[in-house]
């Protein structure tokens, strides 16, 4: 009896903590179904009045979403900018990094270690440092204020290759040796033997890389002066000030791609985080 009580308390405590962690998410979702007028009434803070955080809309409506999609011509463009800056670079990055990671993990060749150490060092440097060389080159190539500049920088950023190499190291060499004895070529080994075994790692790294790009703030802020080209990850907060009536729905819509990926791939995210081990 006493034990049961203890277990129950445990569940209650952990559930309360979870609720607190989820709170920002819950508030965003429930408020996005309120009337634009209700939001304005709750959050416009004139002369010493407090904001009213209400969790349940007096009337559930898609009014805000309608406004976001059909009344905010900027929003669609900004969302599209995020898509353009994220999806192509994640896909190309994974392909290029996978090939290189395979060579670094599974083929012995002169210069392998020094190449990896250079990549690793640059990977450990924060964005405050790496943006300087990025900016210098883009400036030289006349690619500042162009979206392609950011895409290129994201494609060659070193995190994906380090994590993929780590994952490929766990695949036993024997499987490759066996295939070689059977006379399989390098391409056959990559596509038929390594790729199927590395699916989990590729998914994990692709998800982490997506999260990074979808959330980026520093790069567009410095490398794109033109607000017409900037993604929602930078511009979203302008709605909070100028158009609070649609800001909740605007925020939720921007979350959706990330949420879908989270729901489908949370196992991979955990695997991806574990890849940081023994680095």
């Amino acid at each position: 009896m006493k034990k049961k009580l203890r277990v129950t308390t445990k569940y209650i405590i952990i559930s309360l903590i979870s609720l607190v962690v989820l709170m920002p998410f819950i508030v965003m979702i429930t408020n996005s179904f309120m009337q634009t007028q209700e939001i304005i009434a709750n959050y416009s803070t004139q002369s010493g009045e407090y904001q009213k955080l209400s969790l349940i809309p007096t009337q559930v409506t898609l009014n805000q979403y309608y406004n976001v999609f059909f009344r905010q011509s900027d929003y669609i463009r900004q969302f599209w900018n995020s898509v353009i800056l994220t999806f192509p670079s994640v896909i190309i990055q994974i392909i290029i990094s996978f090939m290189a990671a395979y060579a670094l993990a599974k083929i012995k060749f002169p210069g392998r270690n020094i190449i990896f150490i250079i990549i690793l060092i640059i990977m450990l440097l924060p964005i405050q440092v790496t943006l300087v060389p990025n900016f210098m080159v883009l400036n030289l190539l006349n690619l500042t204020n162009k979206q392609i500049g950011i895409i290129l920088i994201n494609i060659f950023s070193p995190l994906a290759i380090c994590l993929l190499r780590q994952y490929l190291m766990y695949i036993p060499d024997e499987t490759i040796e066996a295939a070689k004895i059977d006379g399989a070529g390098q391409l056959h080994i990559i596509f038929r033997i390594i790729l199927p075994q590395a699916k989990g790692g590729i998914a994990a790294v692709a998800i982490l890389s997506f999260i990074d790009s979808w959330n980026m703030v520093e790069q567009p802020l410095i490398l794109l002066n033109d607000t017409m080209k900037q993604p929602l990850s930078v511009l979203m907060t302008s709605y909070n000030y100028s158009n609070i009536g649609v800001a909740f729905a605007a925020g939720v819509v921007f979350m959706i791609p990330a949420l879908i990926i989270f729901l489908l791939g949370q196992e991979y995210i955990v695997e991806g985080i574990k890849l940081y081990r023994s680095k």
Partner: protein, 285 residues
């Protein structure tokens, strides 16, 4: 022999696309920026030794940004370690539905900061929810985003956001500890606290090391939250290194940019190597 050479060529071909871009956009300009940090002038660059670094340390903005970044790092990381270790220990105690709870703690990692920042604004603005609560229970209101309390808000957001990383790493560290150690300790009459100190903590060292490094790297990303919360000109207590860099990008001040980035790389690599050495030493013992 010939075969070996062919393998090498294949390896180089595989690595070529990545290395070409990586060298062009990261490595070569990085090395160049190291060199530029010792020069001044446009076009006709003159070698000035450590002059840029001396000027950097005379810049009030740089000192302020470094100070704030240090304060943030040294507050946020210990808090992160304690909170995420406690949660990982809690989750590890054979609760059912562990995965569900773990997912909840990972979720903030995925949610775009840009979307969630609205919630933090509602909570911490002058007329926000927190002040409403403070007022209701009879305490004084606080200008959270425009006073030294801003740092507290930023630390809170950081822990909320990146806790998932540390919990996953701690949980996988805890899982790898052999249960028999605890059973034997219990037979020997050790209390729970004793086995935590003598078994869990020492065996959790590699995980802790990793959490510290990752939290450190993530802590340098906090600019995002600060920028979205209070723009390019935040309260001076949360003026971070990236704010300093942004200003100099706008002015195209290469002397500042390259010397600051070189200095920062030396410090960061130094810290990571130091932590790594300590970890290696602990492993050997």
């Amino acid at each position: 022999m010939k075969n070996k050479r062919r393998t090498h060529i294949k390896a180089y071909l595989l690595i070529l696309p990545f290395m070409a871009g990586f060298t062009l956009f990261y490595f070569a300009p990085y090395v160049l920026s190291l060199g530029l940090s010792f020069t001044q002038g446009v076009g006709n660059r003159a070698f000035v030794g450590l002059n840029n670094y001396i000027l950097l340390f005379q810049s009030e903005a740089f000192i302020l940004a470094s100070k704030n970044t240090l304060i943030f790092t040294f507050t946020a990381i210990p808090l992160m370690l304690i909170i995420s270790l406690l949660l990982a220990l809690y989750l590890n105690e054979k609760l059912r539905k562990i995965e569900l709870y773990r997912s909840i703690f990972i979720m903030p990692l995925v949610l775009p900061t840009a979307s969630i920042i609205l919630f933090w604004q509602i909570m911490f603005e002058d007329n926000g929810i927190t002040n409403f609560i403070l007022n209701t229970i009879g305490l004084n209101e606080v200008q959270f985003l425009n006073s030294n309390y801003a740092m507290l808000v930023v630390v809170l957001i950081y822990i909320w956001k990146y806790m998932g990383y540390s919990i996953v790493l701690f949980m996988s560290g805890l899982n790898s500890i052999n249960r028999e150690y605890y059973e034997n300790a219990e037979i020997d009459g050790a209390t729970k606290i004793m086995s935590f100190r003598k078994i869990t903590l020492p065996l959790l060292k590699p995980a802790t090391f990793l959490v510290i490094i990752l939290s450190f790297i993530n802590s340098l990303r906090i600019f995002r939250e600060v920028y979205l919360l209070s723009g390019s000109y935040p309260h001076e207590s949360i003026y971070m290194l990236q704010h300093f860099m942004n200003n100099n990008f706008k002015k195209l001040n290469y002397a500042r940019l390259t010397s600051a980035s070189t200095l920062l790389s030396i410090i960061i690599i130094g810290i990571i190597v130091f932590l790594y050495m300590r970890q290696r030493k602990a492993d050997v013992n």
